[in-house]
């Protein structure tokens, strides 16, 4: 398992780079955040679908390209580098991933081709509390005739406002924080009793809160096995953590590049500020953290594709380290820019905001450190 890109991967990276260069500017993001609506460009979404990006990790049998997360990560890194907003993570990794990993043959046939060609957007509703805590689920699903009835509240559902189907994690047995007793349900947002609250996030991405009030579902809405949803959920969340980390290292590298250039042009006291050793040494340390982050992302993506035994612990290392580096990056990027860095007109602040949201999604550094220790038995 080599940690450098092969030829096909380099080509994919190039096409992703030119896609961003040709069809996106950060200005687009500024327009989107002030507009209502879906919060992303549907034209861009169509292009991404055309390029096959949404099909990358799915089997050909379901309209996929049969590639892996190593390839998906390459695309997400470039989108993060350009601050591009598209519901790829939500639809391909979260919602699509849940169906891919836990869905029945019917469910896969019904949804994966649509996810792969972009005609449907899926997502996952897992969180209920302020801190990432995947097994803490109080949303209940009780049997109701031949089907199910769901009640509860979900927060921070990525692109929940735009989803055609939402995979909702509900408790069918066990106590509030038990891993056992979780079940996944595929829900049409139009279902009676389901309220979708659209929220604009700090970084201009959009997430929804869900209110479930006696939402009635047929038996075949269940994804995977009743009470064993955590088996699928764990796998989806570790992939999401690593995929999001790819987006993050894109933003980290771009922040570093923007700042490095500023250090080389900005003059103070008659010298380029990049010649001040205090800033130089900080930039060098920042560089080291960035390089280590890039490496662990590459390794974690490949561990997913190899279905390696250590993929879960690597994912924890990955999200913890990249989250810390993203925080450092936001801090240094803004601080080294001085006054202009805290104004809304400069892009550096937008990168910090996106890094911050990603830092806290799917578990922050402390969550993943704790999880790592648990996995290692201490």
């Amino acid at each position: 398992m080599s940690l450098i890109l092969n030829e096909e991967q380099v080509q994919l990276q190039d096409s992703a780079k030119s896609f961003v260069a040709d069809s996106w500017t950060v200005g687009e993001l500024r327009k989107l955040r002030n507009a209502s609506g879906k919060g992303y460009s549907e034209a861009l979404w169509a292009k991404a679908a055309e390029l096959g990006w949404l099909a990358i990790p799915f089997d050909e049998a379901y309209g996929g390209l049969g590639l892996g997360y190593a390839e998906l990560g390459i695309v997400l890194e470039e989108l993060g580098r350009g601050l591009v907003v598209l519901p790829i993570l939500s639809s391909v990794v979260l919602g699509g991933g849940a169906v891919q990993l836990g869905g029945s043959e019917e469910q896969k046939k019904a949804w994966l081709p649509k996810v792969a060609d972009g005609t449907a957007i899926l997502t996952l509703a897992s969180q209920e509390t302020a801190q990432h805590d995947p097994y803490r689920v109080t949303t209940t699903a009780v049997e109701d005739g031949s089907g199910w009835r769901l009640n509860g509240r979900k927060v921070l559902v990525p692109d929940g406002h735009a989803a055609d189907r939402i995979v909702v994690v509900a408790r069918t047995s066990g106590g509030t924080v038990d891993r056992e007793g979780l079940t996944l349900f595929l829900i049409d947002p139009a279902t009676k009793g389901l309220e979708v609250k659209r929220n604009l996030l700090l970084d201009s991405r959009i997430a929804a809160n869900l209110l479930l009030n006696d939402v009635r579902l047929p038996a075949d809405a269940v994804i995977g096995q009743v009470d064993l949803g955590a088996d699928v959920l764990d796998e989806v969340l570790l992939r999401a953590a690593v995929a999001l980390s790819s987006d993050m290292v894109g933003g980290i590298q771009q922040t570093f590049a923007i700042t490095l250039e500023y250090l080389q042009v900005r003059e103070q006291f008659g010298a380029k500020i990049g010649s001040f050793q205090g800033l130089k040494h900080r930039a060098a340390r920042w560089f080291c953290e960035m390089e280590l982050s890039r490496s662990i992302v590459l390794q974690s993506l490949r561990a997913i594709d190899d279905n390696a035994d250590n993929r879960a612990s690597l994912a924890a290392v990955c999200k913890a380290r990249v989250s810390d580096t993203a925080r450092l990056t936001g801090k240094e990027g803004v601080q080294m820019h001085g006054g202009i860095g805290v104004t809304d007109e400069h892009d550096i602040g937008l990168y910090m905001k996106r890094g911050r949201v990603s830092e806290l999604m799917f578990g922050d550094a402390s969550f993943h450190r704790d999880r790592f220790a648990q996995m290692k038995g201490y």
Partner: protein
């Protein structure tokens, strides 16, 4: 002691006679503070009445000389006055840049005539001042400012741009640094000028920060004609005035009140954690947050001990000196750490900027976190503070 007690009873009587009941204790109609100036409004006739009486008595600036609109009180007398006002739950509300920043500079550098004119207006709350130092091109290298002032007869013609001027859009006058001799070494070609914001050619535009709208503005000067009588101190000697003001500013920031980056704190860090973790009591179930909260609390306690130690030294007649830089540096970074921690603990809900289901508390936490990013940059970056400490306090050689 005796006449201090005499003063106390006089003061008591005066307050009794002059402070309207509506301006005392709970439900007082008085605001916590007022900036003064042409735009000052009064939410209640008694507010105006009380303020006018304070002005007449010189109690808006009690320790200033009567000649400049003060009451000429000694520090001890002023202490008594404040105590007595506190007793009946009233206050002398006036506070602005004029009192805190400009006045000390005028007292040291202005002509008698200038003092008479400007100090009195400040004392009477007639003029609200703002400060025009920073420029887009200059940044930390303040002295490299480029706003030009050219002498023409008994006027200066000013052209240029200032940035980070707090409240410029609601202030009446601005005191600013302008370049009067481009040929001279950068510190020696600067003058200190007072400008009426209503002069033709002055315009302002507010700056939007990453945290949203802010008190900061850009201020533009387009052929603004300024009477030479509004030059403070000698031409090209403005940097001497500026240095005094900057030291002053750092001292003000040190007490953490105004200029604290974390702003008014609604909930304690611990409470934010208890709410976010749904742990109303007992040991916090999140070990890392618990440790970080303790660390922050301990830093705060140590910082306050240091502030007290320094103030005790000042009281004992030893000056504060350049370690004032330490306070700006440490306080701004500590509060920045605090608001960063606060937002991480608030977690998911604090990621919401606006929308259909956006909790107010967390909105506030997020904006304070973002606003805190400015606290280690504006008013002298942390890097500048570190330079000052290593040079002036530690005596390390320049690069």
């Amino acid at each position: 002691m005796i006449d201090l007690e005499a003063f106390r009873s006089e003061t008591r009587d005066w307050l009794e006679a002059n402070c309207p009941a509506s301006c005392r204790g709970k439900g007082s109609v008085l605001p916590d503070m007022m900036w003064g100036g042409r735009r000052q409004t009064f939410n209640h006739p008694d507010h105006k009445l009380w303020f006018d009486r304070l002005v007449e008595k010189g109690y808006t600036v009690p320790v200033w000389a009567p000649a400049y609109g003060g009451a000429g009180l000694t520090p001890e007398q002023n202490k008594v006055l404040q105590e007595e006002m506190a007793k009946i739950g009233t206050r002398s509300m006036l506070f602005n840049f004029g009192i805190a920043m400009l006045a000390p500079a005028l007292l040291e550098f202005a002509t008698e005539e200038q003092k008479q004119l400007h100090l009195t207006r400040i004392a009477r709350g007639e003029i609200r001042w703002c400060q025009g130092y920073s420029e887009p091109g200059a940044g930390s290298d303040l002295a490299s400012l480029r706003t030009r002032a050219v002498r023409e007869g008994d006027e200066y013609v000013v052209n240029g741009q200032k940035i980070w001027t707090s409240d410029a859009n609601v202030s009446d006058w601005i005191f600013c640094l302008v370049r009067t001799d481009p040929a001279a070494p950068k510190h020696q070609g600067i003058s200190f000028l007072l400008i009426d914001m209503e002069s033709p050619g002055v315009s302002t535009s507010p700056i939007e920060l990453i945290s949203g709208s802010s008190p900061f503005c850009q201020t533009f000067f387009d052929n603004v004609r300024v009477p030479a009588s509004q030059l403070i101190y000698q031409e090209n000697k403005g940097w001497d005035v500026a240095k005094k003001l900057l030291l002053h500013e750092r001292t003000m920031l040190a007490d953490g009140g105004r200029g604290s980056s974390s702003g008014p704190v609604r909930k304690s860090l611990l409470q934010v954690a208890r709410d976010a973790l749904q742990a109303p009591e007992g040991r916090l179930p999140h070990a890392a947050f618990r440790e970080e909260i303790v660390q922050f609390e301990m830093d705060r306690i140590s910082y306050e001990a240091t502030l007290k130690r320094t103030m005790d030294a000042v009281k004992a007649g030893k000056g504060m000196g350049p370690e004032g830089s330490m306070f700006k540096l440490y306080l701004s970074e500590m509060n920045q750490r605090g608001s960063d921690l606060r937002q991480r603990i608030a977690g998911h809900e604090s990621l919401v900027w606006s929308g259909e289901d956006c909790p107010a508390d967390e909105r506030q936490i997020t904006r304070e976190w973002l606003y805190g990013k400015a606290s280690t940059i504006l008013g002298g970056t942390s890097e500048i503070q570190l330079n000052i400490i290593s040079k002036r306090v530690l005596g390390l050689p320049g690069d």
